[in-house]
């Protein structure tokens, strides 16, 4: 079976094609955004390159977020539309789990995160045990300080992975620096193949119900709830 994977959750665009568990094509670019015009050409080019026709696809795996709202919407929309029109299964995988998978070769704790602005991050904590990944703490939107506190309370060596690692290095306390291993820059980019490897153990999602995992309400909704609360206090 042929699997197509799509990850547009950050400014990195990733697409891969696998035959069973074997990689046959892959494309990663990191130019700033505009996934909307670049995702479909990337998929078409890659499929043409390895002579795969759309109707040969057997499964779509997509990074569902968290990440850039627009980015994950583009990936999820394309994935859903492909799966719907080709009538094939779709599986959504956490963008953070896919990034954490970069640390597969070493057992232990991994923390993957994306910049969520104002010193906040979308972060997940995972553990590899004999090459098998499990989630230690569900993906969440929290301050970088709060994330550090959680890692310190676990108090174990941890691999930190983030495409925004440079920005956060300057914010790290000495305590966390003692626990953390920060690999070379290229490791901080999720390989789109990871999505397919993670999806192997998962059953298909309900196509129509599948939505991006934003991990955060829209700002208008937050403000509306606040105003409503204030109103009811009076």
């Amino acid at each position: 079976m042929i699997t197509l994977t799509i990850d547009t959750s950050t400014n990195i665009l990733g697409v891969a094609i696998l035959k069973e568990s074997e990689l046959i094509a892959q494309k990663i670019t990191r130019v700033n955004q505009d996934h909307s015009s670049r995702l479909m050409p990337a998929i078409v080019e890659l499929m043409n390159d390895v002579n795969i026709k759309p109707n040969e696809l057997g499964k779509i795996v997509v990074a569902e977020g968290p990440g850039s709202y627009t980015g994950i919407r583009i990936g999820v929309t394309v994935a859903k539309s492909l799966a719907w029109s080709l009538n094939i299964p779709i599986i959504a995988v956490s963008s953070l789990e896919s990034l954490a998978y970069q640390a597969q070769l070493k057992d232990g704790l991994v923390c993957s995160f994306f910049d969520a602005r104002r010193n906040n991050v979308f972060a997940g904590i995972y553990r590899f045990n004999k090459g098998v990944i499990t989630s230690i703490k569900p993906d969440a939107n929290l301050s970088f300080k709060a994330l550090e506190a959680e890692l310190l309370s676990i108090n174990e060596e941890v691999i930190l992975l983030s495409p925004d690692i440079d920005k956060f290095k300057s914010l790290m306390t000495d305590d966390i620096k003692l626990l953390a291993t920060i690999p070379e820059p290229t490791y901080h980019i999720a390989n789109p193949v990871n999505l397919a490897l993670i999806a192997k153990g998962k059953s298909a999602d309900n196509l129509h119900q599948l939505t991006p995992e934003y991990l955060r309400m829209a700002e208008a909704e937050v403000n509306w709830l606040k105003a409503k609360e204030k109103g009811s206090e009076k």
Partner: protein
């Protein structure tokens, strides 16, 4: 073109997720619209981020219904059309990417459509076009007068310099404490009042077909503000009637003048505000004595829908003007 053809069309430019199948650009096979109005009501207007989230949730559901209710197979679909712009960028992106993915998966040509061209071609689902024709487009985002001398060619002869007519309706409705969306509320209230207040009419320069509604909007706000300061009661119905009369007067006179000057064979009205009964009645009144037929589509074709996109796409389909896979949403797309 002798053979029948079917276009699957998608529209997501604002707060409706819509899909439709159109035969030969003239006949609706299916026309599905999922409206988000309920969800935006509490915010008093369309919130772009919320609109985008809804579009992702609805897009395949709406498409699925369009295909299922048509009882058609993919082999029978000849092209995929989608609104390229103008509109909310995050909302447009969903339709554009869905259309590209489906067109690629099913090996169909991809047709990008201008949203306003769609509003004009909503009329082709009811009547044949006769050129030259004049189109008045009035909606929450647009107020435009367009002359067409042939299919697919648009000459904008007038447009709003500030607020769109529908925007003015929504803003005035807000100062009158009417619920969102304000247009239909004002229309309803206007039927109960009398035109007792003299609000300004922006005619602009003598030969101009442009519009301006911000002055009128401010006049209404000032009027209400003054009344409130003097502790005088406000007759909301009279405000609604007077305001609506001011908008309608300008729309109608400019449309009529343009229709005569350009010697058109048809006048088409389209866009959400074309649903306004005050405007419809006054237009019919104004054009009654003229020889120019006036065409206003039924309400469900005035508001945003994908059937109109499929109709407008037929012109591009016949000319084989297709898009590449790098097609992107274009929120500021210009009609040519």
């Amino acid at each position: 073109m002798n053979k029948d053809y079917y276009i699957l069309a998608i529209e997501t430019s604002c707060d409706e997720t819509a899909a439709a199948i159109i035969k030969n650009g003239r006949e609706i096979i299916t026309n599905i619209v999922a409206s988000q109005i309920e969800s935006h009501m509490r915010f008093g207007g369309v919130v772009p981020e919320i609109a985008s989230r809804h579009h992702v949730e609805q897009i395949t559901l709406v498409l699925d219904r369009a295909i299922a209710e048509a009882e058609m197979t993919w082999d029978e679909i000849d092209a995929i059309a989608v609104t390229e712009g103008p509109g909310l960028v995050g909302a447009l992106i969903i339709g554009v990417n869905a259309a590209k993915a489906i067109a690629f998966a099913k090996g169909k040509p991809l047709i990008p459509v201008h949203h306003i061209a769609g509003h004009i071609y909503a009329n082709q689902l009811e009547n044949e076009f006769e050129f030259p024709l004049l189109a008045l487009i009035v909606s929450g985002g647009h107020t435009e007068l367009i002359v067409m001398k042939e299919h697919g060619k648009y000459e904008v002869i007038g447009e709003t310099l500030d607020d769109a007519a529908g925007e003015a309706f929504d803003k005035v409705a807000r100062v009158l404490d009417l619920p969102y969306p304000g247009g239909p509320q004002i229309d309803k209230l206007a039927k109960e009042g009398t035109e007792t207040i003299e609000f300004p009419r922006a005619w602009l320069e003598k030969d101009s077909y442009n519009f301006s509604f911000s002055g009128l909007k401010s006049a209404v706000i000032n009027y209400i503000h003054n009344k409130k300061q003097k502790n005088e009661s406000i007759n909301k119905a009279d405000v609604a009637t007077s305001f609506q009369a001011s908008v309608v007067d300008v729309l109608i006179e400019k449309t009529y003048k343009a229709a005569i000057e350009y010697d058109v064979k048809q006048v088409i009205v389209a866009g959400g505000v074309a649903a306004n009964s005050g405007l419809r009645t006054a237009l019919e009144e104004r054009f009654k004595s003229s020889q120019i037929p006036l065409m206003i589509p039924p309400l469900y074709l005035c508001t945003d829908n994908a059937a109109m996109i499929g109709a407008a796409a037929s012109v591009l389909y016949e000319k084989e003007e297709f898009a590449d896979w790098d097609l992107n949403a274009n929120p500021g797309l210009i009609l040519k």
